[in-house]
């Protein structure tokens, strides 16, 4: 009781001060006031509490203080933001039982000392009703949409989760669409996102650590990992790097990414962000750590390796031949988008002897009359293409389509006719642009798009030699990158046999019984021995199936596993 009094005293003192020299005090922001009282407890006097809350939130018109009588005997007040809370819950589940004595309590005599227990345990129809006595925390609860109830004579507040937010439905993610595979995407609400993860990972090993980052936004950040698979060093490193961030606002996961990446000057992304819960879960199961931020539909995954950026979930959900083929073509597109224009420049300006004679002569014909060297021509076209792309990204869909037609067809055609660009250049630029769209990760594609320009310049100076030098430089940079202690080019160099099965081609799932060890997992078994036996039909083919139909036990086994699935 002593403590409560003290706290109350200070509150009183504070308001007295305010009266004395209000001008100076009023410059204090409400948050600094809260900070000053961060260790103080709530007072048992309702008036004091109401006064304090008014002082903090008084300027906001959507803040509501509602006075009422609990069971008709005890004075109480309720604090909430009207727009943040669910009014029906407040009316039906809070006000109603509080004001109207429930049947089972009619016979009881309720004294003040028992009141809070009675309220929490027997009266309120709400699972998230809790007691708290810290002022600053109560303020925080109000800010987060909970309803805080203070009762005269009780030095504790009840806070009840009444938050109601309009949130987007779980939709198909815009940035990572698939033809075959789950259609869910993360949304802005972290609770929903965590729910999406938990739904796919019903295991006690799946851990979520929460923290708050951002002085103003106080964004909830969740570090998710699977215990026993993720490397403890990585988890600790993630926590360390995140806890060192001191910034006012975190609007998106991208803010965090910039603080935790290893080499901020590298054009290559060192954190993988995804909108897809299934992708996040697959990564968690490989031993990565996912970071979710409230307010962002993107989950960040660390550590990453480069090969992730051209893999999609679809590679794994389709049959392996198809997945491998698609992946190969994607890699080809990646290479295209990086060096195709520079190869063109060096062929045209340096080594026409590499082209077939017929074609070389014809290309020379196509270029005759164009005033610029090939480098300038290609650079100009590339820049035009970048501008066009940027322009279409921001436009509404209907206009964007029209613009791209104008940009691509009309300008391209006109440039050729006007003798500004040769038709082959247009083809090359088009192929390059298409190639850069084929990379599933937008950020990785962007890195290559940027680097493409420097390689074009090098090609303009040294021809093929310049291209090779540029590519070597890029590869060396990539090889020297590390993401949370994992080398960026990991399964390739440093070599990792298990990982290599999933780099160029996507090996059949039963070929990859172990997780790639470059992530330093504690537990690498993906397939268990028993499960592998179920795949024996791969080796024997139809023979076994025929046997299976004649002999019963194998079929029985199958049907039992079906039962398990159901």
């Amino acid at each position: 009781m002593d403590k409560v009094k003290k706290g109350g005293g200070i509150v009183v003192l504070f308001f007295k001060e305010k009266k004395k020299n209000g001008q100076i005090i009023s410059k204090k922001t409400p948050s600094s006031v809260v900070e000053e009282h961060s260790k103080n407890k709530i007072s048992s006097s309702l008036d004091e509490t109401v006064h304090f809350m008014k002082g903090i939130f008084g300027d906001s018109n959507d803040f509501v203080i509602k006075h009422f009588e609990v069971f008709g005997q005890f004075h109480a007040a309720m604090f909430y933001f009207s727009d943040l809370t669910d009014q029906t819950v407040i009316n039906n589940d809070i006000l109603k039982p509080l004001m109207y004595i429930p049947n089972h309590l009619l016979q009881r005599k309720i004294v003040l000392n028992d009141l809070k227990d009675v309220l929490i345990n027997e009266t309120l129809y709400h699972s998230q009703a809790k007691l708290d006595d810290c002022l600053d925390r109560l303020v925080d609860f109000v800010l987060r949409g909970e309803t805080v109830i203070a009762i005269e004579g009780i030095a504790e507040g009840i806070h009840i989760g009444t938050r109601k937010l309009e949130k987007r439905a779980v939709n198909q993610p815009e940035t990572e669409q698939v033809i075959m595979g789950p259609r869910e995407g993360f949304i802005e609400n972290i609770a929903t996102n965590l729910a999406l993860l938990r739904y796919r990972l019903p295991t006690p090993d799946f851990c979520v650590k929460k923290m708050e980052i951002g002085r103003l936004t106080k964004s909830k950040v969740a570090i998710c990992y699977i215990k026993g698979i993720a490397d403890n060093k990585v988890i600790n490193e993630v926590e360390k790097r995140l806890s060192e961030i001191d910034i006012d606002v975190i609007m998106d996961a991208g803010y965090l990414e910039q603080f935790i990446e290893d080499n901020p000057f590298s054009p290559f992304p060192q954190v993988h962000s995804t909108e897809r819960p299934d992708k996040a879960v697959a990564n968690l199961a490989e031993g990565r750590v996912a970071i979710l931020v409230d307010g962002s539909p993107f989950a960040l995954m660390v550590p990453v390796v480069f090969s992730q950026f051209y893999q999609t979930v679809e590679d794994y959900s389709t049959r392996f031949l198809m997945g491998s083929f698609v992946r190969l073509s994607r890699m080809l597109a990646l290479v295209f988008s990086l060096i195709f224009p520079s190869l063109y420049v060096s062929f045209i300006s340096f080594n026409p002897e590499l082209l077939p004679t017929e074609f070389a002569v014809a290309v020379a014909g196509g270029r005759a009359g164009i005033p610029f060297p090939a480098v300038v021509e290609v650079l100009a076209m590339e820049i035009a293409m970048e501008v066009l792309r940027e322009a279409t990204v921001r436009l509404p869909k209907q206009v964007g389509g029209a613009l791209s037609i104008v940009g691509v067809l009309v300008i391209g055609e006109a440039a050729v006719n006007a003798g500004l660009a040769s038709p082959i250049t247009v083809v090359v630029i088009a192929l390059t642009t298409i190639g850069s769209f084929a990379t599933p990760a937008y950020v990785a594609a962007f890195a290559l798009r940027m680097l493409r320009f420097s390689i074009i310049v090098l090609a303009g100076i040294f021809g093929l030699y310049g291209v090779v030098i540029g590519v070597i430089f890029i590869f060396n940079h990539m090889l020297s990158l590390k993401s949370f202690g994992v080398p960026y080019m990991a399964p390739v160099s440093p070599e990792n046999y298990q990982g290599m099965k999933d780099v160029v081609i996507r090996s059949p799932l039963w070929w990859m019984p172990k997780r790639p060890t470059f992530l330093h997992q504690e537990n690498v078994a993906r397939l268990r021995e028993k499960r592998n036996k179920a795949l024996e039909h791969n080796k024997i083919g139809n023979d076994q199936r025929e046997e299976g139909t004649s002999g019963g036990p194998k079929r029985n086994h199958n049907s039992s596993s079906d039962d398990n699935l159901n």
């Binding site: 300006s349 017929e358 014909g365 270029r367 060297p373």
Partner: protein, 406 residues
């Protein structure tokens, strides 16, 4: 650490930008190059000295090479005349420019040519070099140096010897291809595919020319009528000088001698029992084994050829090929003809001391002691080759006689 990397990047950027200030040395746009597609080399006519531009030397300069002056004719692709993509009706104007220049050497002539042409001469697409017989007989060594030294010239370009002046080939306009010299080059390439001539690109010619135990050979061309060009035989060399040519039929024998696998030449073969009736039997595949040996210190070669052939035509309806014996007889006839023809060819080249079969290589490889003692120089092998004793054995196997019975 990150700051260091940043600095490294800045330095790299600076270094990247520095060359921009100085320009792009080797960059030359494809349309600014005078792409030479073919070169014809002739002996310059009288009065060539007068026509020559004084680029590499002044008249009466002492350091002029002693060899005769040459006239080269080049075919340069004109950008724009050869349209991109399949366009119709583009054959109105000639797509190539033909220029004649004279000079003491090829390089000299090329310099003279550059004097006349604005764009830089580009030899990267040189696919064909035509030597006139006259020039070839005087020796090709003088050209080899330039062609080897220049990195632009491809080793896979073809070199041919022409019966007429080489300049005629540059001006000829065969209608099968838009670019005349490309037609010629493709003709040489397809000769190999059709089994009409062994691989004979310049690189190969040089290797053979350099080797001590073999003499070079090149295809020999002849213009037929106005529009078509015919492969008229094989020009064989002794050292760097052309010493003779064969007829087209003998190319087949030659290919048998060197063991070129693909056969392309037919031989008229007597049908046994009907003296006047003949059938055309074409070689499809050959397998050649050459055995070199020393008989009493004298070199001797045994050439064993095994043909796989097919009956491709039989003229008269009166005779029939239907029994196995008929085929066997045809095989025998073909073998005899092949044996005779190959023996004749060896004898012919022996007279010219030109070992185009490379028998010398066998002796060099298998009897190094003998080689060291008796053959010091290439001339030496030529003399020995002249008196080389040889045996030719030909064996034929006719696999099929076509779709027709009888």
């Amino acid at each position: 650490m990150s700051q260091n990397k940043y600095r490294a990047k800045r330095i790299f950027l600076l270094i990247c930008l520095l060359p921009l200030l100085t320009g792009c040395w080797d960059s030359r746009e494809i349309e600014q190059r005078a792409t030479v597609l073919a070169i014809g080399i002739d002996k310059a006519g009288p009065g060539a000295e007068e026509r020559e531009a004084e680029v590499s030397h002044e008249k009466g300069d002492i350091s002029i090479p002693e060899e005769n002056m040459i006239e080269i004719t080049v075919q340069i692709a004109i950008p724009g005349r050869i349209p991109l993509g399949p366009q119709v009706g583009a054959g109105e104007k000639k797509p190539v420019l033909v220029v004649h220049v004279v000079g003491h050497t090829i390089e000299d002539a090329i310099y003279n040519l550059q004097q006349e042409i604005a764009d830089e001469i580009f030899l990267g697409h040189l696919r064909l070099i035509v030597l006139s017989e006259e020039v070839a007989k005087e020796g090709v060594k003088r050209f080899n140096d330039y062609l080897r030294r220049n990195p632009e010239i491809r080793r896979t370009a073809s070199m041919v010897v022409s019966k007429e002046k080489a300049s005629k080939y540059m001006e000829a306009s065969p209608e099968l291809e838009r670019v005349p010299s490309l037609y010629l080059a493709e003709m040489v390439d397809s000769l190999v595919d059709l089994g009409k001539f062994p691989e004979s690109f310049i690189g190969k010619f040089w290797s053979i020319f350099s080797s001590e135990g073999q003499d070079g050979y090149l295809p020999y061309f002849h213009i037929k009528g106005k529009k078509t060009i015919q492969i008229n035989g094989l020009a064989y060399f002794h050292g760097d000088k052309m010493v003779g040519k064969t007829n087209p039929q003998e190319i087949g024998s030659f290919m048998a001698g060197i063991g070129a696998e693909k056969g392309g030449y037919p031989i008229f073969t007597d049908i046994p029992g009907n003296k006047k009736e003949i059938a055309l039997v074409q070689a499809v595949k050959r397998k050649t084994r050459i055995k070199a040996s020393l008989k009493n210190g004298k070199p001797h070669v045994l050439v064993k050829v095994r043909y796989e052939a097919k009956v491709s035509e039989k003229e008269s309806p009166n005779v029939k090929i239907k029994k196995e014996e008929d085929i066997r007889a045809l095989e025998r006839g073909f073998s005899n003809a092949g044996q005779r023809s190959l023996s004749d060819l060896i004898a012919k080249t022996q007279k010219a001391k030109s070992d185009i079969f490379g028998f010398g290589e066998y002796f060099r490889a298998q009897f190094p002691e003998y080689w060291k003692q008796n053959v010091e120089t290439e001339e030496g092998w030529g003399n020995i080759y002249e008196n080389l004793s040889y045996d030719v054995e030909v064996d034929t196997y006719i696999r099929h006689s076509g779709m027709k019975d009888k």
